[in-house]
């Protein structure tokens, strides 16, 4: 499952908090589903690219999940203030945050974000969140938020395919 997401988009927050966390607990941790976060920062969101940089940097030191959770849970605060750094810093240790800041400053993350964005364009992604499901050579693009209950049924159907 590839989730094209924008940290500043309210629907992406809903998808993450209401659906994808339960998905991670029940399908990803057991190895049934492989979930990939893809950055798709929309130009209309002033701070989403900065947030994507911090989340990527945190992921590179193994703290991606903590940063992602902090960014989505506190979305209303930092999208007003623009304080992405402070939001991520509150969720990580000071040593980890130092590493994250240095990675962000290096500027090597930008091409990776652009690569995800380009990949989204090949799938004709034009809104966030868009989830692209891959199973047995099939590709299912889906835009919007789905409840965990309904997603679970779809995944069970996909996984039961022979």
């Amino acid at each position: 499952m590839e989730v094209f997401s924008d940290f500043q988009c309210p629907a992406c927050k809903t998808l993450y908090l209401a659906t994808n966390r339960a998905l991670m607990d029940n399908y990803v941790s057991s190895g049934k589903v492989y979930l990939i976060h893809r950055d798709f920062p929309l130009p209309m969101h002033a701070h989403s690219r900065v947030a994507a940089r911090y989340a990527r940097a945190a992921a590179q030191i193994g703290k991606g999940e903590a940063a992602e959770q902090a960014l989505f849970q506190n979305q209303e605060k930092w999208k007003q203030s623009g304080d992405v750094d402070g939001t991520v810093a509150a969720a990580l240790s000071s040593a980890d945050m130092t590493k994250v800041r240095s990675l962000v400053k290096l500027g090597t993350l930008e091409p990776l974000i652009d690569k995800d964005y380009s990949l989204g364009q090949t799938y004709h992604v034009n809104q966030t969140p868009t989830t692209v499901f891959h199973c047995k050579g099939q590709t299912y693009p889906y835009a919007g938020v789905m409840s965990y209950e309904i997603l679970r049924q779809f995944l069970d159907q996909l996984l039961s395919q022979k």
């Binding site: 099939q138 693009p141 889906y142 938020v145 409840s147 309904i150 049924q153 779809f154 159907q157 996909l158």
Partner: protein, 167 residues
Amino acid sequence: MMQSSPFTPRRVVIWIGRLVLAAIFIYAGYSKIFLPIVHPHPPVGVALSFFAMQVDSYQILPPWGVNIVAHTLPFAEVALGLLLLIGWRLRIWATVITLIMLGFFVAVVRSYALGLQINCGCFANPEPLTKWTVIRDGLLTALALVMSVFAYQEARAPHPWSAPEKS
């Protein structure tokens, strides 16, 4: 010699409505059941579960309601499209199709007004719900409504082949 049926504007509208809406309903149902955009084609169960997610994205129904709609609507669309094409009990099926179109239109307008970033789910292709979707659904709903009203009016009018009433 037998006279042919007069070509009135009312009958033309009914025929256009029947052909257009039947084609759309049959294709919409078929595309939800068989997901022709996905290769290799998935089993029907997978396609209907995928459609259930599209229904769910409108955030109107609880999960049990989503499942009922997702597992019955595609088959109902195909059946109603065929009935409309055949023309058997036209007034009844035209009315049912009009009510379904009204339901779709309300759902689409509500989602557009709420700014939900979702796909229409009308057909198999991932089509974003935009103002054009709202306009298209509005026009099709209007066509269904006019077709139904005209079908009732036509049923009340004397048939052109019937014998003239005795005075």
